[in-house]
Amino acid sequence: MNLSSSQMEPAHVVTVDSNRIDAAVAIQFKDLLRAKMAPIEGRHILDLSNVEFVDSSGLGAIVAAMKMMEDNQTLELAGLNPGVAKVFSLTRMDTVFVIHSTVEEGVSARVG
């Protein structure tokens, strides 16, 4: 499980470099994501464009990361592939997270 990150003003973009967020890596993913996000306040965008599969463990890890944020941070998602989008829509987590079709769209969006 690998994450990389870059600053794309005004957002901090964290890219998942692996193609599955499942039970095998969910805890590791959650810890890595928290570590990437913790030092930086403001908007974070999680780039899931490389991810083809997320199960309930992976979903839970993403939710957990959001719940652990400070008040001066937000987490949005971008680049959900169809199978992953389905997991979010089935659980109606797409009403809880702001989801962009691409990172670029997310970076330029006004999120109020």
Partner: protein, 153 residues
């Protein structure tokens, strides 16, 4: 020359996958990918493959977590068959029985829910029941849990 019907007199059952693996999350991942690849090879449509892949992953995760309590101390058997317009996935383990009370199932969240109230888990059975047309489970007298999921494809 006519093909012999050997099962239910109408469609033949074709076994796509039938194997045994260790009950840990890494082995589960490999098993899920094997099931997915077998379905793709069989030219099952990708939307169906996606839904089966998710349900299978959830079912196998449940075995690791609940039947074997993550002790990595047992085997899981999985069979994937095609029967006419259905894919049937059978999962067997010799771990703890299904709980007799209602299985913990988290339903979808609703808009406006407080952040602290959003569940981080428990969606597994909900996914299985949503993706599969039929789900049944039983425990045989010799202490084997049998889960069967049927998917229309």
């Amino acid at each position: 020359m006519r093909m012999l019907d050997v099962s239910n007199g109408f469609d033949m059952n074709v076994i796509l996958l039938d194997f045994e693996f260790d009950s840990d999350f890494i082995s589960v991942r490999e098993a899920v990918i094997s099931a997915r690849d077998a379905l793709i090879h069989r030219q099952i449509g990708c939307e169906h493959v996606t839904k089966i892949e998710l349900a299978v992953a959830e079912a196998l995760n449940n075995v690791v977590e609940h039947a074997y309590k993550e002790t990595c101390n047992g085997m899981i058997c999985m069979k994937v068959e095609q029967s006419g317009k259905s894919i049937i996935v059978s999962v067997m383990d010799h771990g703890l029985p299904f709980p007799s009370d209602k299985l913990s199932v988290n339903e979808p969240v609703h808009a406006g829910v407080a952040l602290s109230d959003i569940p981080e888990g428990g969606f597994g059975w909900y996914f299985i029941r949503t993706m599969a047309e039929n789900v049944n489970h039983r425990r045989s007298k010799d202490g084997i849990n049998h889960l069967q999921m049927e998917f229309r494809v």
